[in-house]
Symmetry: C2
Subunit: 406 residues, 2 copies
């Protein structure tokens, strides 16, 4: 193992705990003086390396304890897909130059499937030119769709936000004698984990009456029957729907919602509005569509303690594994037991993870009743447990601020 | 003063602290055995009395400590405007019958302007028939638009949610090298208090670049100039807009957003989408519109401690004043000092409050720069201070549940 410097980067959609992983990486790297001399952070992930935009962590050490309580990607993120170096070598020449200039021997990349794809490609190229570097992926996604890990940091906190927000929306939407059909659209383009977490609210008697996820094909006739039955009984109906819900042919429902705006343009609306419109059209019941949007992945003020602690730990583990000589692998979380909840950390080849999506397995679903079963609850409850304390100054959360250098 | 029973009701839009006021009313009424024998609560406010639907608080005493931590209107709310008894006496005969049957001598009604109008009308009628009853209003509105009170319970917590959520959205919206114009639509049909609170986020360097409130006329030319200038500089622009923002002629901008849906119907969209469309049309910049919707008034997981405590206290004060013989008045909060923050409680005639709306006074605004000034910050900061602790059970908030009788 060569002694050298470490660079860390954030990639893909932000989460409320990705900076907790940054904290884990940075503080663990600081402890490994024998292997790691200096710590850099990419500005906007891999694009920072291509443009020579990076941060020297020494400039931010005074704020480092704010990282675990700060949502979104504090160092900037990116959605940039590297071509294979055999197709186009341009980017790789820049990356190699940067690595050599800065003596980078540890490349720690924090993100989801696409970020692991970046890890694969960089590792492949560096191997081909005999540049010695340890490439380790740190998992992150609110969608919980990474394979070979029990779950992914970011999911537990987003799920906790969904569970508690759906309870609050449920209470709010039922205050009047005669309500509406309220449809809440939740993130998850291919996997319904976040949307399905709202079943936990229903366990409390304060959740959605109906939940639609991509894993179970949407049937419009059944949908209208169910909404009508519930509304006629309760004068109210609360629905949770995943943005990625699909019909029997596998087409996204959201793509059907072409509306024409004031300027005559076609607008691609959300699936919530689409479902509301078919309710209004077919049942004559008014609706309200709520899109939780970015608040669900950035809500630092309600996070799961186990999620935050695990996010820190996967960062630490990444550094430990890299220093131990591991490369081209992603840190994984392996559940040992549910009660008490216990996990161990491990590794899996990044190339297996790059292009695979983990949806909710059938064994956790009650497909016939459009529901989840006990296995799902046993899986999810430990992930939302515990509250991680935020720091407030006169009512305002204190956050890490990249514009404030030492 | 006649010894008798008390009935309490909730009316108008819910807030995250109206049940804290219910808690104040109920627990204070319990202490006043000499005047108050029994405590009832209307189901869906005044409509509960008209339909003989009510709760006996004895059935819920085991859950009473959950009220201060439960958002929305736990006993149901209503939007029902009583006619004057001189126009139509039907409702009043039912109300008088109910009062006589249940020996109601204390009528405590919790809500905003319209709820105070209900207090006025009931008090007028009861006086005309010589039915002896104390009618006291308890203030509630997230919009903070009630006059003769420094502020209204519900506002501080909603404002705290807005301040912290806008910071989170700001961080989230700026993670990529090239962003969009993000427009967040915030409640407040006539008063911009909630939307203006997002200026507090900007004080932290993590808030909206531009804020639009009903108190300052919207100028489209200036808006497009400002958005373009900021976007060209930062590749990003975050906007907070009140749902009630108006143009120079006083018309709501939101009413302009007539879109045609998939079924050929005209849809009335929000002002956020409208602003986004004029940005796209005129500047060719992509946008994302976020409507915070009911989450902003129901977010129990981030509330202001001073707001919760004051909400409890206005409930207590209402009972104390009623028992002391006061009637046809609403409890008010009078600010004594900002530093340290100190308030006193008082009363004001409900008839003055019923039809008046308190907007942000000019002295707190910097109209020329479409901004607020120090007076606004001095006013708002104490209202969002402190965190009120929620109770979680395995990651899920514990809430009062009206379906669970003792």
């Amino acid at each position: 193992m060569l002694k050298g410097n470490l660079i860390y980067g954030q990639s893909g959609g932000p989460s409320s705990v990705i900076n907790a992983s940054a904290y884990g990486v940075i503080t663990e790297a600081q402890k490994n003086h024998d292997s790691i001399e200096h710590i850099y952070v990419m500005q906007h992930g891999i694009e920072g390396i291509l443009n020579n935009h990076y941060f020297d962590i020494d400039d931010y050490i005074h704020q480092i304890d704010l990282l675990p309580i700060t949502p979104a990607s504090a160092f900037g993120s990116v959605r940039y897909k590297l071509k294979s170096h055999t197709d186009d070598i341009t980017d790789y020449i820049k990356i190699l130059d940067f690595f050599k200039n800065k003596n980078i021997r540890y490349f720690i990349y924090n993100g989801g499937n696409d970020s692991m794809d970046t890890c694969v490609k960089i590792a492949n190229y560096m191997r081909s030119v005999n540049y010695d570097i340890q490439v380790i992926g740190v998992p992150k996604t609110v969608d919980n769709d990474l394979p070979y890990t029990d779950h992914t940091p970011g999911f537990g906190s987003a799920a906790k936000f969904i569970v508690n927000t759906m309870m609050q929306i449920s209470l709010d939407s039922k205050v009047y004698p005669k309500g509406k059909v309220t449809i809440v659209e939740i993130m998850g383009r291919h996997a319904g984990w976040l949307t399905a977490s709202s079943h936990v609210s229903s366990l409390q008697g304060m959740g959605p009456d109906l939940v639609y996820i991509p894993e179970i094909a949407f049937n419009e006739t059944k949908f209208l029957e169910d909404v009508n039955r519930i509304y006629q009984k309760n004068h109210n109906c609360l629905i949770a729907v995943s943005e990625g819900v699909k019909d029997e042919t596998g087409d996204f429902l959201g793509l059907r919602n072409k509306t024409t705006d004031a300027f005559g343009h076609n607008q691609l609306g959300g699936v919530g509005v689409y479902l509301g419109e078919i309710v209004k059209q077919n049942l004559g019941i008014g609706y309200r569509a709520i899109e939780l949007s970015s608040t669900q992945r950035a809500a630092a003020f309600i996070r799961s303690k186990s999620d935050v602690l695990e996010a820190i730990e996967v960062g630490r583990q990444a550094v430990q594994y890299a220093v131990a000589g591991e490369t081209e692998k992603m840190v994984t979380i392996n559940r040992v037991s549910n009660n008490p909840y216990k996990v161990e950390y491990g590794l899996h080849e990044v190339r297996d993870i790059a292009n695979l999506e983990q949806v909710i397995p059938n064994e956790m679903l009650d497909i016939e009743n459009n529901n989840v079963n006990k296995k799902f609850y046993d899986y999810i409850i430990p992930l939302i447990e515990g509250e991680y304390e935020q720091i407030y100054d006169r009512g305002v959360q204190k956050f890490f601020n990249i514009t404030k250098k030492r």
